[in-house]
């Protein structure tokens, strides 16, 4: 009884393995596709080009800013500071809740909740939790000054022009 049945069992065994293999293959395909889809969607959803102003921009030649100038570019939300042959860019976005701070004689002051900063952006009063960040300033090959708002640098580091 058993001898003739044996090949049948083996066949079913083979079929089972094949079935297993196929299942694994399908599962691999489906799972792989799903993972790629998830990652693709994450990449898709993150904008590669923005429609607002870029974070890296040119502000013109150093000569446009005379020594001692503190020019607030409200659209770009930076204040360009020039002292002698040194130039720097300080954020004008209040570290408290994101209002635009105004350039005052003593430094910066926020019109929304009354935060005060000194000329280097350090907090001197009000609810602001930390100092205004400084952005990296570099000299582009065409001789213009570029500000990169993506890169914060240590307060007090100037670009020599």
């Amino acid at each position: 009884m058993k001898t003739p049945a044996k090949p049948a069992i083996e066949e079913t065994g083979d079929a089972m393995t094949r079935r297993r293999a196929l299942s694994w293959l399908s599962g691999f395909g489906l799972f792989g596709s799903a993972i790629i889809t998830v990652f693709s969607n994450l990449i898709f959803i993150k904008p590669r080009a923005t429609y607002g102003q870029p974070n890296r921009f040119s502000i013109g030649r150093p000569d446009d800013f005379p020594s001692g100038a503190r020019v607030s570019l409200d659209e770009r939300r930076v204040c360009i500071v020039r002292e002698g042959d040194k130039i720097a860019a300080i954020s004008t976005t209040c570290t408290h809740l994101g209002c635009i701070v105004a350039v005052a004689e003593t430094g910066f002051s926020c019109p929304c909740h009354g935060s005060h900063y000194d000329q280097d952006g350090n907090v001197t009063g009000g609810p602001a939790p930390k100092a205004l960040p400084w952005f990296q300033v570099s000299l582009a090959p065409n001789g213009e000054v570029e500000v990169d708002k993506d890169t914060e640098i240590e307060a007090g580091s100037y670009l020599r022009v």
Partner: protein, 622 residues
């Protein structure tokens, strides 16, 4: 089991496609360009800080958003052309090259350092170059896609452009069309081609038919004020070379233009975009006020006493010879004016100037709105040219006077034939020529054919000369021997009295039988008319119809016109009475006297035409 195999296979296909698409998203060409730029810039860098800054940077999409020229231009060109403003890359290979500096562009050198007049951060790239600022692949960005309306001017041609003209459509000078968007002043050195094109617009009498805001007021052709916005340069070029290339029904003449002239016109037309960047609507309004003032003040000057000298000057200034021939100047489009002073009298000329259609109803000559004294000066000048040509033999006369329209081969295809309506008679068609009496041809030669461009030669040619030229025509062109002309039995006068009933019957027959060729309006523009040569007669050409006796109409309708598409209607069951009604109907269309239009108002004529329609209450006529 087969289900499972399918499942495995298909899920694998899905995985592979996912993989391909995912992989494809990376390794963009622009990323390679940027990486290459960072490397090269690193080797060129002088300080550690610079090198450090370069190491920090990773490829990303660079863009310039320009809003000051109306709308929002997003130019991502600098994503690939990342070195465009880096002077160290002067002369490198594309795309990593620096945009050249040039004094002609207004760039200035300060202490050995160039400074751009048109900063890229202010102007972007597509303001000057055109192209598609948002594209990140060469094919899209440079505008080589046939669907993109503004490919890079002078650099890129699209695949479906005419192969013959493609090489002529490249060259930096095409960008002048964009320079002229801001630099609108005449004689600006950077826009020489635009300036030349503007001159040609007047020299070639384009202004007569076309309107351009602030420049001209022609109404016969399309308004070209914003033609540069609507069309690409290939269309402008090709349409100027051959007006029928895109629109087979265009009646714009084909002008004699050299390639350079076409290029100048193309650039000029491309620069016409309605409101230019530099011109606000307020600025335009002020300019119009200014122009109106100038026109007012210039009027008294124009009305200086008419004189032949002024006429000669005007004919030069206003470019009559862009179409017409006068002496040795010839536009190869319109009739010869050399003997116009002999052929026509002043009244005819003045009426024709004011409204060409008032004398030749299907003329394509535009209404030039010159002041009356100017027209008088021109008439006076033409009158001074009163010398008859010294032509003796029939052949000489034919070649000198007739071949311009009837063609050297007598086939009715002279240089002007495309622009004359009715077209010049094909003199080689023996069937026609030999079915009409000699008297009729002599009559046409003597008094011309009213309502057409065939002028009366009476005052130019003696009877003998006229006979000589006719003999020449028969001998050279018709060739076939002239047999006995078969006289058909037709009444001399229309026996059917013209009354409302008869006209109504005639109209019914006309609508049934004739509209296929002669058109529902009897203006000779029926649906079949385009396929017929010679074209069906315009039965609203009053000058012509009123000059044709009933006898000839009976003959033509009942027995057809040999050598044309007009069949012999007696074979199709029309009786003499039917034809009588038809004639009454056609005559009723032309019964109103065409008032000599003393005013140059085109609406007057259209009103007159409306009044002529006798069947306005008839439903069929609508």
């Amino acid at each position: 089991m087969s289900t499972r195999v399918t499942l495995a296979v298909v899920s694998f296909v899905v995985l592979i496609v996912h993989g391909i698409v995912f992989y494809d998203q990376f390794f963009n060409r622009w990323e390679k360009h940027q990486t290459a730029y960072f490397e090269q810039a690193r080797s060129l860098a002088k300080t550690d800080a610079e090198r450090h800054a370069l190491d920090e940077r990773s490829p990303r999409i660079e863009q310039i958003i320009v809003t000051q020229f109306g709308g929002s231009h997003v130019d991502r060109c600098t994503t690939c052309h990342i070195a465009s403003d880096d002077p160290r890359f002067q002369g490198h290979a594309e795309p990593l090259t620096s945009h050249p500096y040039s004094a002609a562009l207004g760039d200035v050198q300060n202490n050995g350092r160039w400074e751009r007049r048109h900063k890229f951060t202010d102007f972007g790239c597509t303001i000057c170059h055109d192209g598609q600022g948002r594209g990140l692949e060469v094919f899209d960005a440079h505008g080589a896609d046939v669907f993109w309306p503004s490919p890079m001017l002078g650099y890129v041609t699209q695949a479906n452009w005419h192969a013959e003209y493609k090489p002529k459509l490249t060259g930096k000078e095409y960008m002048q069309a964009n320079c002229a968007q801001c630099h609108t002043e005449e004689n600006f050195p950077g826009t020489a081609l635009v300036q030349r094109g503007r001159q040609l617009f007047f020299e070639k009498a384009c202004y007569g038919c076309h309107r351009i805001e602030g420049l001209s007021t022609g109404t016969l052709g399309p308004d070209l004020s914003d033609v540069g916005k609507k069309f690409k340069i290939n269309y402008l070029w090709e349409h100027t070379v051959n007006p029928r290339a895109f629109q087979p029904t265009s009646f714009m003449p084909k002008f004699d233009l050299s390639d350079d002239e076409i290029k100048a016109l193309t650039v000029f037309l491309k620069s016409r975009r309605g409101i230019n960047f530099a011109e606000t609507s307020l600025g335009q309004y002020r300019a119009r006020l200014q122009q109106a003032k100038v026109e007012e003040t210039s009027k008294p000057m124009a009305s200086a006493a008419p004189s032949p000298a002024r006429g000669e000057q005007l004919m030069g200034e206003r470019s009559c010879t862009a179409c017409h021939r006068l002496g040795d100047k010839d536009g190869h489009i319109a009739p010869d004016l050399s003997y116009e002073g002999l052929i026509r009298d002043e009244d005819w000329m003045m009426a024709h100037f004011r409204e060409p259609k008032s004398k030749i109803p299907d003329s394509i000559m535009p209404v030039f709105g010159f002041a009356d004294p100017d027209f008088r000066s021109i008439s006076a000048y033409l009158k001074t040219r009163s010398a008859s040509p010294a032509l003796k033999t029939g052949e000489e006369i034919y070649k000198g006077l007739c071949s311009r329209c009837h063609g050297e081969k007598g086939d009715g295809k002279g240089v002007t034939y495309l622009y004359l309506d009715p077209a010049p008679r094909d003199l080689t068609k023996a069937a026609f020529m030999n079915s009409k009496t000699e008297d009729r041809f002599l009559q046409s030669l003597k008094s011309g054919v009213p309502g057409t461009s065939m002028p009366p030669w009476e005052r130019l040619l003696t009877e003998d000369q006229r006979r000589a030229v006719l003999a020449y025509v028969f001998q050279t062109f018709v060739k076939e021997p002239r047999g006995q002309i078969k006289e058909h039995k037709v009444p001399e006068q229309n026996p059917i009295a013209s009354n409302a009933d008869s006209i109504h019957r005639g109209e019914d027959i006309f609508l049934q039988r004739c509209t296929g060729c002669h058109g529902r309006k009897a203006d000779g523009k029926g649906p079949n008319s385009l396929d017929i040569s010679p074209r069906p007669r315009n039965l609203r050409n009053s000058f012509f119809i009123n000059n044709v006796p009933d006898k000839r109409l009976f003959d033509s309708i009942l027995y057809g016109v040999q050598g044309t598409a007009m069949p012999s209607w007696i074979d199709y069951g029309l009786t003499q009475n039917d034809v009588g009604d038809l004639i009454n109907f056609v005559r009723s269309l032309n019964s109103q006297k065409v008032s000599p239009p003393s005013e140059k108002s085109p609406t007057l004529t259209s009103q007159a035409v409306k009044q002529e329609v006798p069947c306005q209450s008839n439903a069929k006529c609508k």
